[in-house]
Amino acid sequence: MPAVVAENIVKRYGKKKDIVEALHGISFQAEQGELFGIIGPDGAGKTSLFRILTTLLLPDGGHATVDGLDVVKDFKQIRNRVGYMPGKFSLYQDLTVAENMEFFATIFNTSIDENYDLVKDIYSQIEPFKDRRAGKLSGGMKQKLALSCALIHRPSILFLDEPTTGVDSVSRKEFWEMLRKLKQQGITILVSTPYMDEASLCDRVALVQSGKLLSVDTPAGVRAAFGKPLLAVRAEKMLPLLNDLKGSGAVADAYPFGEYHHAVMRGNHDITELRQYLEQKGHQQVEIKAVEPDIEDCFMDLMKN
């Protein structure tokens, strides 16, 4: 049985004339024990989807199951089995670290001691501050407390809504390391993120944009489906280089990509010809190499087509 099944989920907000459709029929499955990423920018519908799957919001169409249970009919059972960490810090700011933990353990009829082994790696990092109020914690510590509270009832599925948004890249790497360890303990994890580079840390990803799924696959599968030759190009003057790349008949699309520009090539391209073309345009120190597409290349390609 898959951990999560979503079939044609639709969600609309607003009334009459002012209706916004946030989810336009989302379908996917996440398997037991999988680390599944929902990757997409703000406004893609990630939070609506998570709130439907955690039974906090009713869908307007389609249906979904979590651990084989229906998100509408069996909401009470689902709530006992899932852990949910919302994007916004939602613990009690006026309770201490330990009080928050006890509170969440108690409402799930368990205790910190009973499931300590599961949260130990994460909770032990903030335990020295257990008498501090949650509102007084640093951003990183709040995140660890929120994750500990979401885990304390030993959920079978963990939903993490944008846990790394606005977090620097060092802390992001540490957070993904924690997720990897949790996965080893057999917990299914659904995590959403706007950072495309985090896709490669997931077993499978769903790329979402404006309430629609662009692709559901392994990161390698997403990249393999790109299916077009891609070049990384660099020269002394990067801004004119971009314009000249866009002006070349051999180039289907060109955009900045870190220290290089990426050029998506039309069928039969020739690196030597492109180099000659750019040098004729007056570019110096032209460097061209074939590269494998990144998830971000794929995302943009899927968005545009």
Binding site: G140, T165, S169, V170, S171
Partner: protein, 248 residues
């Protein structure tokens, strides 16, 4: 100090009690430069930026922004800079035009100036038919591009951008950087923070704050060379991992 310098800081410091948030930072930003201001959460970026924007008085050192002193001339600083952040930019319950009029009015621009420039701006953004729509009805990417345009509407010499592209889709993120390039080409100095390391590559120079100090400041190319790193992400990791203090 020359006329070509937009921002100059020397030993700029901010202490809160016995905690030193910004610990004697010194740097210069040239006019028309795109200056990336990087650092881990809690490194002191926001505190430093608040001082440079005239919102927080330093406890030590000195700095000028657009030629004005950060201790005595904070009002002049505010008039001569633009500011935009991911978190706060535009009023959702005002229309596009109302937002422009509101911000331009705060900066004392005339009705004629506002009218003429609004028409030009909406055309540039391909938003002519959106002028009377509420900002909350716009897609995020449009909002961010509009917010940037509003931040430089009064034609400031310097614009401060605090994580302007957080959560924005990759296509819009690039369109946004294209606007930054255009602003810089028009002589506006751009001071920008970001968590996207590919964007650090788009800056002329980048500084990296660690524990309240600037640990590195150079062009992306030179930073990669001197730290023997393949990418800016690696540069950032090498420096930021040395941090001993806890995130904000």
């Amino acid at each position: 100090m020359s006329q070509n310098i937009a921002i100059q800081a020397e030993g700029l410091t901010k202490r809160f009690g016995d905690f030193t948030a910004v610990d004697g930072i010194s740097f210069e930003v040239q006019k028309g430069e795109i200056f990336g201001f990087l650092g881990a959460n809690g490194a002191g970026k926001t505190t430093a930026m608040r001082m440079l924007c005239g919102l927080s008085i330093p406890t030590g050192g000195k700095a000028t922004v657009a030629g004005f002193d950060v201790y005595r001339q904070t009002e002049q600083i505010k008039r001569n800079i633009g500011y935009m952040s991911q978190k706060f930019s535009l009023y959702e319950d005002l229309t596009v035009k109302e937002n422009i009029r509101f911000y331009a009015g705060i900066y004392g621009k005339s009705d004629a100036f506002i009218k003429e420039k609004t028409a030009f701006l909406l055309k540039e953004l391909h938003m002519e038919s959106e002028g009377s729509k509420l900002v909350k009805s716009l897609p995020l990417g449009w909002k961010q591009k509009l917010a940037f345009s509003v931040a430089i509407f009064h034609e400031p010499g310097i614009v401060f951008l605090d994580e302007p592209t957080g959560g924005v889709d990759p296509v819009t993120r690039r369109e946004f950087w294209n606007m930054i390039y255009q602003a810089a080409a028009n002589g506006i100095t751009v001071f920008v923070t970001t968590h996207y390391m590919d964007e650090a590559e788009y800056c002329n120079r980048v500084s990296i704050m660690v524990d309240g100090r600037i640990d590195a400041l150079d062009t992306p190319r030179e930073l990669k060379r001197s730290l023997q790193a393949a990418s800016m992400d690696e540069v950032f990791l090498k420096l930021a991992r040395k941090a001993t203090r806890n995130a904000d």
